[in-house]
């Protein structure tokens, strides 16, 4: 068995581009280079046509009624910023309260922090031990000042899928807008802005085998009509919601990536789920003291496997399996020295958070790769545990919590 190294299993961070997407994009760099805003010549029309086609593909992909509900952005961070800041500014007369959750992406949390400085009240909901937001908690947090609820479709670290349809019922009933950062879930699990009563949704191409640097914000146009204040001023592109010359090749890539996902996503998710379960079964078969992080299926992304390898620090683990690209919730992978805030919000002990590894399986992973990675991980976890004083103490029956550790 030979596999090509390095092996990429970090598909929550980004995905490799599908060659079909690249093929669709190529003509728009050189031959069809026009500015989609040039209304008076054929070069502009060709670009505009391509952009509008991608808009249709993308609207269909998320179940939007009209392609006019898609606003192109530079990525999900911008989409999240635009959704939150744009709504807060437009609806300032109606209220100043936003509800979100502690496990959201930093693009949401840091935007909320900025808004707080401007006088917006933000409620950061706790999550359950499985990482999910309880729709009842959303209901209880809504006040007459609430203008927006923002809850992610699926979590990027632990793969937990939120009950967006249930939350959508509540927000619709209460007359509050619902935004979801759909980046990790869209295409991989069911997502439909109409069926789920979603009013704004952020998506990005590079998490679905498209190019980096292009995203979209779905902004509902009817029942209710959602209004936002643009955060980038200029030529009034995108119906005044986001100025800037459109990035035609990337937008074409976005549309193509969405189209492929729409046609193949269901089958692909089933295949990826099998790979994940194969990896999980192999690891659990050979190693003890593993802890599954995140919700149980079916409320877990098919390609996500987030495990705590107790007594083995995450960064040491990543160093050991350096030919495999994965992520860790360990502090040591960041400058802050704080372990993953998502795991902490779920109530995972800091000690266990330090030992977590996230495998993100995707379109281009194979069974051979899974087998290779499983064998490698088993080997190194065993090696590192033999080197771990904590594992030895655990095996001697010492309760690690009974020891007074000197914090440093």
């Amino acid at each position: 068995m030979t596999v090509k190294l390095p092996i990429y299993m970090d598909n929550h961070a980004t995905t490799p581009m599908d060659p079909r997407v690249l093929e669709a994009m190529l003509p728009y760099f050189t031959e069809k280079f026009g500015n989609a805003a040039s209304r008076n010549h054929s070069c502009g029309w060709a670009a505009e046509e391509a952009v509008e086609y991608a808009r249709e593909q993308s609207a269909k992909f998320i179940g939007a009624k009209s392609e006019k509900e898609i606003v192109w952005t530079s990525g999900a961070t911008e989409s999240n910023n635009l959704a939150l800041k744009g709504v807060a500014e437009f609806y300032a007369d109606k209220g100043n309260h936003i509800i979100t959750a502690k496990t959201e992406h930093k693009a949401i949390l840091d935007t909320c922090k900025r808004l707080e400085k401007d006088g917006v009240q933000v409620t950061y909901l706790d999550v359950g031990t499985d990482g999910s937001v309880d729709p009842d908690d959303v209901k209880k947090a809504i006040t007459d000042k609430t203008i927006l609820v923002s809850v992610m479709l699926a979590n990027n670290e632990v793969g937990t899928i939120n009950r967006i349809a249930e939350i959508g019922k509540i927000t619709r009933e209460k007359g509050v807008l619902l935004h979801t950062d759909a980046v990790q879930g869209v295409g991989k699990i069911d997502f439909d802005v109409e069926a789920m009563n979603v009013d704004l949704a952020s998506i990005t191409a590079h998490k679905m085998y498209g190019p980096k640097g292009v995203g979209a914000l779905f902004v509902r146009r009817s029942k209710p009509r959602v209004r936002i204040v643009a955060q980038i001023d200029g030529g009034g592109h995108e119906r005044g919601m986001r100025s800037g010359t459109l990035n035609t090749p990337s937008i074409v890539g976005f549309g193509k990536a969405a189209d492929i996902m729409m046609k193949e996503g269901r089958e692909e998710s089933a295949r990826i789920f099998k790979l994940r379960e194969r990896l999980r079964a192999k690891l659990y078969g050979a190693l003890d003291e593993l802890v599954w992080n995140g919700a149980e299926d079916p409320w877990h992304l098919p390609g996500n496997l987030n495990l705590s390898f107790s007594f083995v620090e995450g960064e040491a683990m990543m160093m050991a399996i350096k030919d495999v690209a994965v992520s860790s919730g360990s502090a040591c992978t960041s400058a802050s020295l704080e372990p993953s805030y998502v795991l902490r919000a779920m109530g995972v002990d800091e000690e266990l958070a330090h030992t977590s590894i996230r495998f993100g399986l995707g379109r281009f992973n194979t069974e051979e790769e899974v087998d290779y990675v499983a064998a490698l991980v088993i080997d190194h976890v065993s090696r590192l545990r033999n080197m771990s004083p904590l594992y030895e103490m655990h095996k001697e029956g010492i309760d690690l919590k009974s020891i007074e550790w000197a914090a440093h």
Binding site: F311, V312, E313, E315, A316, M319, S330, A331, C332, A335, L337, P339, D349, E350, E351, H354, N386, M387, S388, P389, L390, Y391, E392, L400, W405, A406, A407, H408
Partner: protein, 134 residues
């Protein structure tokens, strides 16, 4: 973040991994760090009670590659030294030898603490024996 070749070398071929009998009166054990902080080092030194020379050193470490490399390095360094000499080893020497970046300096501090803590344990045992003999 890229690791220095010395860190990688120690991490991949750690010296002196293991356990000494902590009940042995000539073995000093230092257990420093905390699981919640992501690193715990256990350093054990077997010390000659007459000459106070470190005759053997073993470690086990829960932590990142730099923490493992730092502990591996100090086991090499302390062997053959008297405890007075070993007490003088400082974390900056470890930082220099392993070329540790600023975010990893705490690993070297921990390794220095581990030496001191192991030697103190040895001294404590020795003093307790002397007391018992009185």
């Amino acid at each position: 973040m890229a690791y220095s070749t010395k860190v990688i070398e120690h991490y991949e071929n750690p010296r002196n991994v293991g356990t000494l009998d902590k009940e042995d009166e000539n073995v000093g054990t230092g257990l420093v760090g905390a699981p919640a902080c992501g690193d715990v080092m256990r350093l054990q030194l077997k010390i000659n009670p007459e000459t106070e020379v470190v005759e053997d050193a073993k470690f086990k470490t829960f932590g990142c590659g730099s923490a493992i490399a730092s502990s591996s390095l100090v086991t090499e360094w302390v062997k053959g030294k008297t405890i007075t000499e070993a007490m003088k080893l400082s974390n900056t020497q470890i930082v220099e030898e392993l070329n540790l970046p600023p975010v990893k300096i705490h690993c070297s501090v921990l390794a220095e603490d581990a030496i001191k803590s192991a030697i103190e344990d040895f001294k404590r045992k020795k003093a307790a024996r002397a007391d018992a003999a009185k």
